[in-house]
């Protein structure tokens, strides 16, 4: 069995093993890898932010294309720094308010359309469910199941009344639907995470110790 002679592969493989060592218990090797990773990520992100945001959205358009208007949002962004001047720290509320206002303006109609109206469309039982010439009632049964699930789940998230009487029954049914959904989601994501582990093991067995050719 031959092993890699590339020092970067060795470094990557050893750091992976250091991180895996946390599965046993906290130890100096994990601490080293953790601190290295955290520190590197800060430095790396500073470079990414500079390249992807400061240079792409400010320096290049202003200095090369002379789009001076971009200095206005830049100045508004600088107001965040007034946090360090206690007497003027309230000025940082301006960029926060602008960001929240714009975000809400964009998000509200999109959310209402995508998360409410479209979902209602999908939930309502409609005549297309009867159109399957071979099995019209399966489509109908699934439609009814979805409608009941949605209505009961909504009642679980109703906060203006205590869960008593009919509301309690409905909320209980709703939480069953929610948990079944979460169970499916859990299994799906665990599979995705296992594939991440397989990817890391493949790297070590293929690139590092060449166990897999």
């Amino acid at each position: 069995m031959t092993m890699s002679t590339d020092p970067w592969v060795w470094l990557a493989a050893l750091l992976s093993l250091f991180i895996f060592s946390y599965l046993y218990k906290d130890n100096p090797l994990f601490k080293f890898a953790e601190h290295l990773f955290t520190g590197l990520s800060v430095g790396y992100l500073i470079v990414i932010y500079y390249n992807n945001i400061v240079r792409s959205y400010l320096l290049n358009p202003v200095l090369a294309d002379h789009r001076w208007v971009l200095l206005v949002p830049f100045a508004i962004g600088l107001l965040y720094l007034f946090r360090f001047i206690p007497k003027l720290s309230h000025l940082m509320l301006i960029p926060i308010a602008i960001t929240l206002g714009i975000w809400n303006g964009i998000a509200l109609p999109l959310t209402i359309e995508a998360d409410i109206i479209r979902q209602m469309q999908g939930t309502m039982i409609n005549t297309s469910m009867f159109r399957n010439p071979w099995d019209p009632y399966t489509g109908l049964a699934v439609g009814i199941l979805i409608a009941v699930g949605v209505i009961c789940t909504i009642t679980y998230f109703f906060f203006s009344r205590e869960h008593k009487g009919a509301l309690k029954v409905s909320a209980h049914i709703g939480i069953w639907f929610v948990m079944i959904g979460f169970g499916a989601s859990f299994g799906y994501t665990v599979m995705a995470r296992v594939s991440l582990l397989i990817g890391r093991l493949q790297f070590m067995f293929t690139e590092w110790i060449h166990l897999i050719k």
Binding site: E34, F37, T38, R83, I96, I117, I125, F159, S185
Partner: protein, 380 residues
């Protein structure tokens, strides 16, 4: 066959097959109009199918365009047979265009054109197809305003959530054990609603820790959230008359990198051994790493997020989980801010409305086999 019937049959066959080598029959009733609900630059041309469209002879339709009254017709596009419309997305706003639509066969022979226009493209300010969104948005905003006003006048009822009792118990447990409370705000930006809710809950938790003198640790992932979180904790300690217990080191920035943050928090949980871990806000793939690392230390864990894909992990690894809107409700319940309470009440009102609409629409479909009602929502 007699001598006389031969030519008649041949003539009949030719008549049925159509004139050999002749141009196809033209499309009918062509019309051109500004494409509705768009931002301009587009004209729609429609026509009735050519009588030859039913056979295999026709290749499609060719659309020509001329600007103004005197412009020359130029081809702008073609569509296969069976189509009755063409969208000219190259039209300039404010110019009159005339169109000609001709049926074209496989050999390239074109029919006499059907003429349409003039038509002028222009931008629409209102998208009629989104009227239902406008109505729903206006209704929701109106409901928020109504309930906001009612919340300002007096306390509105919001049921207490089990997870909130757990928060108080968890603070008490940490106090008894003399160990810190770790409050994690997730990786969301300040403009995420879940981050705002998490900051509200942080304020209430900080008041409790100030009251009991329990150590509080808030490692943050996002610089602006970090700034606000520090102010929130500081204000809470001041409000409880214990500004002396607050220190800047309670709220510290770790990294903006998702997994770097998760790795750092795993280490903090393993070494500082907080008695209680609170995970509130926006989470992504790091949720499972955080929740599992915390569970391994034996801490009480309470989570709250609106990220549906991460909730299963929190439910599995935490003692209590505020699911989705419960996070907002918890924030409103604890703070009793009229704006938050009013919003929760408006949402509840909206939920009742949704249930009624879904139920009535579905019953109408079942009883009458008609989608008249659900059709309002776009079901075809």
């Amino acid at each position: 066959m007699t001598r006389a019937t031969g030519p008649i049959a041949l003539a009949l066959l030719l008549a049925l097959a159509g004139p050999l080598g002749a141009a196809p029959a033209p499309p009918g009733d062509a019309r051109a109009y500004d494409t509705p609900d768009d931002q301009g630059g587009s004209i729609t041309v429609e026509w009735r199918l050519s009588p030859d469209d039913a056979g295999t002879r026709l290749a499609g339709y060719e659309v020509h365009r001329a600007a103004g009254d005197t412009g020359r017709f130029q081809p702008v596009g073609q569509v296969p047979r069976g189509n009755t419309a063409y969208n000219d997305g190259e039209a300039a706003d404010g110019i009159d265009y005339r169109y000609r639509v001709a049926a074209v066969d496989a050999d390239g022979a074109a029919s006499a054109p059907a003429e349409a226009g003039p038509a002028r493209a222009r931008e629409q300010w209102f998208k009629a197809g989104k009227a239902n969104v406008l109505v729903a948005t206006a209704l929701f905003v109106a409901m928020v305003l109504v309930f906001l006003e009612r919340a300002r006048r007096g306390r509105l009822f919001i049921r207490r959530l089990a997870g909130l009792d757990a928060v108080e118990e968890a603070v008490g447990r940490a106090t008894e054990m003399g160990r810190p409370i770790l409050y994690c705000l997730g990786i969301g930006l300040l403009d995420y609603i879940s981050t705002l809710a998490a900051l509200n809950i942080l304020g209430q938790v900080a008041r409790k820790t100030a009251e009991y003198g329990t150590p509080l640790v808030v490692p943050t992932c996002e610089p602006i959230v970090h700034t606000v979180a520090r102010e929130v904790v500081k204000e809470s300690y001041a409000a409880k008359g214990r500004p002396d217990l607050f220190s800047d080191d309670m709220v510290y920035f770790v990294t903006s990198d998702q997994m770097g943050y998760a790795a750092a928090l795993s280490g903090i949980m393993a070494r500082e051994r907080p008695a209680t871990n609170l995970f509130m806000g926006y989470y992504a793939a790091e949720a499972l790493v955080l929740a599992e690392s915390g569970a391994a230390t034996g801490a009480i864990q309470i989570a709250g997020t609106d990220q549906i894909t991460q909730l299963p992990f929190f439910i599995t690894a935490c003692d209590f989980t505020l699911m989705g809107e419960e996070l907002y409700a918890a924030s409103a319940y604890l703070s009793q801010e009229p704006l938050l309470v009013g919003t929760i009440k408006a949402q509840d009102f909206g939920k009742v409305l949704i249930i009624l609409l879904v139920a009535v629409g579905s019953l109408a479909a079942l009883a009458f086999r008609s989608d008249v009602f659900s059709g309002w929502f776009g079901i075809k």
